[in-house]
């Protein structure tokens, strides 16, 4: 198990795939650990990518600072990891909290990237997200990691995914419960206490950017992704049908295919963001559909967009 150094802390990471291939770097969400990207590793390596995954500072097998974790540390760790990957094309993707770290990296070190894929992401804390975040933190404090998982599972995954697992949810939760500690998760959550919105800086992200948002994402709804689409010049918003916040867990084959196609399009010079809004296919390999012209993609009912 290789480790990077960040000051006195050790960061567990993994590199797989051909060393001369373009690389995908995948950044975990708050309660995740790097093994959860296993399906992506296999799918992307099969498409001739190198794949880098790691546990954030405070997560999984990485060291867990006892009292404070600064979001700047995650960006610095990501920079160290990307520095290990040589000079080839780098595509960076992150889910939720990891998407936020990916955005911050793109703002600070965008020149090193060939493409960016924020997933279930946000650049600012809306009142709803702030209050939900506070409630989740209280849940963690009062009920521990298991209770936080109990709150997140039904919020972030579909009935179709949950139904066959209802009688074995403990085993679904166990690895996350084992590798993540209450105090470390709390430190990660409390790194938002002095969070400043990234929105004013998003326009400095000039790399091709594909923003992925689940159709039914309750935790980070469409409006939060819309901020990214409007502010990042070479971006497109892709809505994943029937997906919730944690679609990277639920629809791994589809999402890995979207990541690979995006990178292939960018490297072939075919990518055109144009701040377009697309609907992803239901399954890997399917066709994208443009969001119906004239309709408002921020609404859940087919309302025609107001003429501006």
């Amino acid at each position: 198990m290789p480790f990077l150094s960040h000051g006195s802390y050790r960061i567990r990471y993994e590199l797989d795939g051909p060393t001369d291939a373009p690389a995908y770097v995948l950044v975990n969400g708050l309660t995740q650990y790097s093994e959860l990207w296993g399906a992506y590793r296999d799918a992307l390596i099969a498409r001739r990518f190198r794949v880098a995954t790691f546990d954030l500072l405070g997560q999984g097998a990485s060291d867990k600072p006892a009292l404070f974790i600064n979001q700047d540390d995650h960006v610095a760790v990501l920079h160290r990891l990307i520095g290990e990957l040589g000079d080839g094309p780098i595509f960076l993707s992150g889910i939720s909290f990891g998407g936020l770290i990916a955005l911050r990296y793109a703002i600070e070190h965008g020149a090193r990237l060939s493409g960016l894929v924020p997933m279930s992401c946000f650049a600012e804390l809306s009142p709803q997200l702030l209050l939900i975040g506070n409630a989740l933190r209280t849940g963690l404090i009062l009920g521990g990691t298991g209770y936080l998982q109990d709150l997140l599972l039904p919020m972030n995954l579909s009935d179709q995914w949950l139904k066959p697992l209802l009688d074995k949810l403990d085993s679904v939760k166990r690895q996350g419960w084992l590798v993540n500690d209450v105090y470390a998760l709390q430190n990660l959550m409390e790194s938002f206490l002095d969070f400043q919105p990234l929105t004013p800086e998003l326009s400095s992200i000039t790399v091709p950017t594909m923003i992925l948002n689940g159709e039914f994402d309750f935790l980070t709804p469409r409006a939060l992704h819309e901020t990214l689409r409007l502010e990042i010049p070479n971006s497109a918003l892709v809505i994943i049908p029937r997906a919730y916040h944690a679609f990277t867990l639920e629809k791994a084959a589809l999402t890995a295919d979207l990541l690979a196609r995006f990178a292939e399009d960018v490297m072939a010079g075919r990518w055109q963001g144009n701040k377009a809004v697309w609907i992803a296919p239901e399954d890997a390999g399917g066709e994208f559909s443009p969001f119906p012209a004239g309709y408002d993609h921020l609404r859940a009912i087919p309302v025609q967009r107001a003429v501006t």
Binding site: S8, P65, A66, L67, F68, I141, G144, W177, L178, Y183
Partner: protein, 197 residues
Amino acid sequence: MSAFFGPLEADGRVPPHQQTRVAAFLISAHGALARQFAFALPAKLDAAWQTELNAQFYRESEIVSLLMRATAWVPDLALGHMAVSWEMAWLPAPIEGLADHARGQAIQLATLAHAIHAGIRPAALLPTEANPKDPFAMALRRIEFESSRLLQAQILFLKGPDLQPFRDAVSAVLERRHAEVRRLWHETLDSIGVAPS
């Protein structure tokens, strides 16, 4: 070496020799906290935060009492010298760069409590096939759960505005405490064939 207790007894219980050594370590650690909270507690509470001190004292005492009763004890000759090294480790050490003695004592106690409550997760050592009705297994789950609740007082104090000017010194003491407690805990587990991943 396994990351979990075992091999389990036929009825799914943790082997008594593993119970004995782990319970002895936890009693030493939480017993030290109970003693230190007791010494810090005035006879009559005259500040709101002392109600939390009172709660911490009784929760630590409960953990000790619970382990005394829930553990399947067996004779363990190694416990004598191990207990001495544990008890030495719980003693306060001076904090560099902090002249205020009373504040230093409070930081010492809070950092020790943080390291024990945050860094020791005994329930995470139970394999999935452990008997959920085993009182020892139940005790470990309760101790881990209560520890994460008790921890909140230490987090509030150590991250609080009063200690903001001493943030680096406090963080350094806390990281040292964590490393020390983790080392002792891992040595104890290693001595019974358990290696947490």
